[in-house]
């Protein structure tokens, strides 16, 4: 059993700034990550997620600001940082011409582990790769490659794991097994820092979420905290034809009404109280529109994210 001390800061990031030539990618990024938690950094393409992860994993140097991992400064003591972390990049870095076992053994030898053979077998078993252990990786599916990639990252038993878009390009089944694995690591006290474009993923996995936009963290908090920042629910009205749809859109302009593409559904914002919902329905009635049904939907992270991005732009 690993003794897990929660509420202990493992990653401490202060005012990170990084620019490439004339482009400012990070303009003062700060956050903390607690031990054993899963921290998701969300952002659209080019928001600076990979840059952040590269700085934290000692692959890039920031222009200013600081980052500490397990108390070690990533700029002053990159060697000590490297001993405690592992990185699984956005593109799998498995060696395609080697077998799964050879890949793991190579990394084990480079880490100077004393029990490479048994560690490799453990990980092959754990990542469900035993049957294909001696096949060349070039013949593996995307999901298998990603599993091997992460297995390679775990050989050194790191206390902090960086995962850059771990499920990008995976089929739904592989994605779910990846999620399961990530939760397992966290449960034994490993700290997970991941980036993702999938809001659903962050929502499902993360204890805390930070949204990176335009080089800054625009929101940081737990999933429920972030959801509370926009206290609205959505009422989805199921209408019967085009003209009703357009009419409805007009009536609820003040509620940011939106057509859900490809359907006869219109989405309007509400505070979720019965009074407010009744108000929506009454308005429909007074305009002689009959909806075949309606449903209430809680906001997803995607809604939060889009709202923030739209407000900023």
């Amino acid at each position: 059993m690993t003794l897990v001390k929660r509420n202990e800061t493992v990653i401490e990031v202060r005012d990170l700034e990084k620019s490439f030539k004339t482009i400012d990618v990070l303009k003062g990024v700060s956050f903390n990550v607690q031990r054993g938690s899963i921290f998701a950094l969300l952002g659209s393409n080019g928001a600076g997620k990979t840059t952040t992860i590269k700085i934290l994993s000692t692959l890039l140097k920031p222009q200013s600001g600081s980052a500490k991992i397990e108390g070690f400064d990533v700029i002053k003591h990159p060697g000590s940082v490297r001993d405690t972390i592992s990185l699984t990049g956005q593109f799998s870095t498995v060696d395609e011409l080697l077998t799964a076992r050879e890949n793991l053994t190579m990394i084990g030898n480079l880490l100077h582990l004393s029990d490479v053979k048994s560690r490799v077998n453990d990980l092959l078993e754990k990542f469900n790769l035993m049957e294909d252990a001696d096949r060349m990786v070039a013949t593996f599916s995307g999901g298998m490659k990603r599993r091997l990639d992460i297995a390679m990252s775990l050989l050194g038993t790191p206390s902090v794991i960086f995962l850059d878009e771990p499920t990008t390009g995976l089929d739904p089944k592989s994605r779910i097994s990846m999620w399961k694995m990530i939760k397992e690591f966290a449960s034994i006290g490993v700290t997970i820092f991941l980036t993702t474009q999938y809001l659903e993923e962050a929502e499902y996995l993360a204890d805390r979420i930070a949204i990176l936009h335009d080089g800054k963290i625009v929101i940081e908090g737990s999933v429920s905290e972030i959801k509370q920042m926009i206290p609205t629910v959505f009422i989805i009205l199921h209408l019967n034809n085009e003209s009703e749809k357009l009419k409805t859109l007009n009536i609820y302009k003040n509620r940011n009404a939106e057509i859900i593409q490809g359907t006869n559904h219109v989405k309007v914002e509400s505070d979720g109280t019965t009074v407010d919902i009744l108000d929506i329905l009454k308005k429909l009635e007074s305009n002689d529109i009959v909806a075949s049904s309606f449903e209430q939907k809680k906001p997803t992270l995607e809604n939060v994210f889009l709202k923030i991005v739209n407000n900023e732009v």
Binding site: R82, G89, F91
Partner: protein, 258 residues
Amino acid sequence: MNIIKKLKYYTSDTNVMIKRNIVHTVRNLESFLTTILLPVFMMLAFVYVFGGAINVGTMNYVDYVFSGIIIISIAFSASIVAVGVNKDFTKGVIDRFRTMNISKSAIFSGYVFSSMLRNIISIVIITLIAFLIGFRPNATFLDWLMIIGMLLLFIFSFTWMVVMTSILANSPESASGLSMIIVFIPYVSSAFVPPETMPKALRIFAQNQPFTYINDTLKALFLGNPVGNNAVLAIVWCAGIFIFSYIVAQIIYSRKIE
């Protein structure tokens, strides 16, 4: 960390890297075979097709061209290094190694030593075939030792140059393209035809470029002729190429993390 432990890690890491590169060569055998077969075909073509029309004096043409073929085979094999190095750098493999505290010298040594091994194998095969088609060197035992030394030094420094250009290139395709340019340089040397037969500008280039010094040194040693100052110039060029490539490679490597 004390020095002995560091050295132990370096040797063990270098071993792992050399092994990795050798497995790559074995699993991607056709590209290795190409770098052996191409010079062999060239040798056959030069000896049986063009050789008759090229005047190299009273000498047997295969004796004249053999050292040039060896140089071309070393140049051809550069493409394997180029693609391998560049893939590692552009596909994130180096990033993984770097987050693992592996010394960059171990990574570079892996490329260089496996390249030397590949070249030794192909040179041995090409030499055997050359003997079959009438290559008759006059080298003494001492000459052979000097030939081996010269070749190892040349392969070593040449591989470093390819490693350096391959880190610089943005994709495996452009790295391979750059290595093709390098392959072209030996043609404008004394490797296949006497430089005296070339137009003036080319002749000046051909007479003063490193491939010519290396080729003339090797040729003289094979034929048992005096090497003159070619050997010294060849060694100076190789050392210069190595030092320049080594320094530039280190600079580019550390630039990547700025």
